[in-house]
Amino acid sequence: MRRPPYGPVLAALALALLVAIVLAVGVGAVAIPPDRVLATLLGSGDPAETAIILSLRLPRVLGAALVGAALAAAGALLQGLLRNPLADPYVLGTSAGASIGAVIGLLVAGAAGFFVVPGLAFVGAILAIVIVWQLARVGPETSVVTLLLAGVVFSSFAGAIVTFFLVMSDRLQLRLATVLGWLMGGISIVTWGQLAVSAALVAVALGVAVAIAWRLDALSLGEEAAAQLGVDVEAVKRSVVAVAALLTAAAVSIAGLVAFVGLVAPHATRLVVGPAHARLVPAAALAGAVFVVMADLVARVVLAPSELPMGVISGLVGGPFFFALLWRHRAAYRL
């Protein structure tokens, strides 16, 4: 099995991301052609277009890129940890757990809570991973069916809590439509401050992920095999859970519940660069960023001038993909 060289693949993905960002920034009520977008980004654009791009379009597009990168990396890490190609922060209920934290953060801190929201989302995401994983764990093995069930049940439970908070709150200063759009995976709440916080979180998480990538490869041979190779299995598992929760929290703070990005991007990437996590995680992050930026672009143009939440598009693409995976693996999982 020959794989294409890694460097050029990574460069091609980075270039694709740049192209997607320029395209997405140009699309909107006022169309801005790519050459003028580039001119603005390089600091020599028309003042009116610069204002539109810097205050509205660019934060949103970069937010979409961060969401995609974070969810794809989280998916790749969770799949490695659980030795299961069907794991993904949305399916496992991690995103739903993070959304409880994020909604509480929005209620207590208002729209400016760009530290509080990801912080509480992180707590919710960790709790969700731990609860769902413990439920699905039988000795050293994790049952796929129980894992999916536990994820679904936890997501519904978390959804009920979120709805309760939204309905009960008198302090809800945000427009309900905005919050609902956010919950459905709309990239609607993006400020430069929030972007900076999320970008820092994602960067730190990706760094840690690459640092533990080799040990995660060893862990995908099974816990006993990894221990025999000298890996501190519990420490690696704790790190992966923390990093995946951090990534999910960063994504949920920006775009609420986005389905399947963490499933589609790592899968597609693994086919090209192979399963070794040191290569997979950065490449999947880039691929996820491209996917979400393009999904958000489509969401904005398909019913223009009104907008769909980006999560609708990623769900429409990711859902059939997930079904295809289940279909292919159904014998192995006795579904």
């Binding site: 099995m1 020959r2 490695g80 030795r83 299961n84 190609p85 690459v210 640092a211 533990i212 080799w214 040990r215 490869d217 060893a218 995908s220 041979l221 099974g222 006993e224 095999a225 990894a226 221990a227 025999q228 190779l229 000298g230 890996v231 501190d232 693994r270 192979g274 399963p275 070794a276 040191a278």
Partner: protein, 258 residues
Amino acid sequence: MTVVEARSLHAGYPGHDVLDGVDLSVRSGERVALIGPNGAGKTTLLRALAGTLRPARGQVLLDGVPVTAFRPRDRARRIAVVPQLFTTPFAFTAREVATLGRTPYVGAFGRPSSADRAAVVRAMSRTDSLSVADRRFSELSGGERQRVVVAMALAQEPDVLLLDEPTVHLDPAHQRALLSLIGDLASELGILAIAVLHDLNLAATMCDRIVVLAAGTIVADGRPADVLDAGTVARVFGAGLDVGLRDGVPFVLPLRTR
């Protein structure tokens, strides 16, 4: 010279000792078969010797030092294990799997160095698995896969090689080939090899020492011809087996049922 010792070793699961006082000493170059009926504690003993299962009482010593006192990385540079069942859900190539044997040598942000790559190539060529290096591990035949796993263990450059039923999915020719490879490693590299085996004839033919485990204790230990006599075989495995001698090597056959 490497010595692995178990001293009045008790180990198992919380509230239940599978091993009930095992004393054993093995030196480099020895090829030891660990045999015994199902549930005798063979895998438990192997895990305790490997240092991944902490003894309830007693200890396992590697050159006089308790294996549990080693840092996991340092332990994995001395002791390698070939597990019974080996699967990965991802499409790692055979070379990638073998390269994971370098885990105890690479650091954080680890990338295999040229020395690591060279060690992997040496290990794969020793086990005759270089020809499948770039194929998917999960698509290899049982025999090819087992050679890759042994290559992974050799890439650890260990002094001690512990094998848990390494021949279980192999046909007789591959069983013999694998054990003969382990034997060569023991005599050429001075590796101390202990293999759990179910096939008594394979143990008698391919190993120079047989340790018999029954109900968590060692009931016989010595050269195949001394250990595999009719009395011991009947006592440990029950009636229904016939023991004979061919060219000085014992063999065990099931008695025909009527």
